[in-house]
Amino acid sequence: MDNWSWEIFWDAFPVVLEGLGITVGLTFACYLFALIFGFVWTFLRRIPFKPLNWIVTWVMEFIRSTPPLVQLFFIYFAWPMVPVVGMTLSPFASAVLGLGLHFSTYIGEVYRSGIEGVEKGQWEASRALNFSTSQKWLKVILPQAIPPTIPMLGNYLIIMFKEVPLASTIGVVGILHMANSYGAQYWAYLEPLTIVAILFLVLSYPSAILISKLEKRMNRRFNKNEALNSSKGATT
């Protein structure tokens, strides 16, 4: 352990911390994008047209099973080269688009499981009461579908927070980028990278506990949504 230096640690700390704002900001930007775009997938999947459903399902599968790192490179390096488009995106915008799109496919699944978790009887009851489509969704389905998805959506926020450092590879100056450039400058990777790890742990662990508490409370209130509890882990 002789190679550990508190001096470097405290020297690097403010440098790394400078990137925290970007990292957290990017996380929320990606998350917002994924939340909104998740709706698009859910909506597209509900259109009762078989070929379209099939295509949407496989496009989602494609985005979900290929590395977000390559997707980032595609959007950052390749997108401007596509004939006609010719539009260069900033690293930050590329990251929002790339990671946001990647995780929107997972978020879309969450929405779907929430909607499918509403009992069949509720749909039938809305029909029996002669609700209009918008009344049915706003008054009956969504109020029941949304609450059980909240813990899962929270989990995805944490998962995305941990994915965001990928964006340092296309030059977004978040904490990992700061740590790596500090390391390259002084040939001291140990301390700055440890700081990054600690920051992640400090931010994500309490949130994870908070969410699992929330989940338990939700389950007590809606103790039917067992299908939702097997939340699929989605990292990298």
Binding site: S65, P67, L69, A78, M81, K162, P165, S204, G233, T236
Partner: protein
């Protein structure tokens, strides 16, 4: 395409090691020894609480500095990082599945005078593994995606060769990356198919 062997060998090695870690850590979490339980819990929380890419860099840059050791090749670093990270995630699935096997199964095994080891080996694990299969399949896809990260610690995987192609001819960038994505998807397809099969299998032969 060069670099395929690296992507695939990293995937296979980290999957095997990752599943192994998952079982070891998952069973340790259920141990009656509190020290083993807490220590494993610490490992799991640290690796789940930080991101894989940070762990990868940390193992690659920081660990050799900290302990004055070389972890051997960067191939090994990549495999260890992916295996430790996903092992931590999957250990929770191992633990959850074992706990999900109905209590009556343990009781029936006790009534047949099985030892606790026999109960685990003959009755609980065969059922728990069936429950784990679909999630294990999902995580295999996650690990496949994670293999792309070894490029960042200087391995010559397909992403590395893709990037070389791109820098040689910038106008080729869309084709190159699209091909890469398609390549990963082709690798993922059999796993997706197996995962769907596993979902069917897991519904049979389990009491919960």
């Amino acid at each position: 395409m060069r670099g395929i062997n690296i992507t695939i060998s990293v995937l296979i090695a980290s999957a095997i090691l990752g599943y192994l870690m998952a079982f070891v850590a998952g069973l340790c979490r259920l141990s009656s020894n509190i020290i083993i339980r807490k220590a494993t819990g610490f490992y799991i929380e640290v690796f789940r609480g930080t991101s894989l890419i940070v762990q990868l860099f940390w193992l690659y840059y920081a660990v050799p500095m900290l302990f004055d050791i070389q972890l051997g090749s960067n191939w090994l670093v990549g495999v260890i990082a992916i295996a430790l990270n996903y092992g931590a995630y999957m250990s929770e699935i191992v633990r959850g599945s074992i706990l999900a096997v109905a209590k009556g199964q343990t009781e029936a095994a006790t009534a047949l005078n099985m030892s606790s080891f026999q109960r685990m080996r003959l009755i609980i694990l065969p059922q728990a593994v069936r429950m784990m299969l679909p999630e294990f399949g999902n995580y295999l896809i996650q690990m496949l995606k994670a293999t792309s990260l070894v490029y960042l610690i200087g391995m010559n995987d397909i992403l590395y060769y893709g990037n070389i192609l791109r820098s040689n001819d910038l106008s080729q960038a869309p084709t190159v990356y699209l091909l890469l994505l398609v390549f990963y998807f082709i690798l993922a397809l059999p796993i997706i198919w197996l995962t769907r099969k596993a979902e069917v299998i897991s519904k049979k032969g389990v009491a919960s």
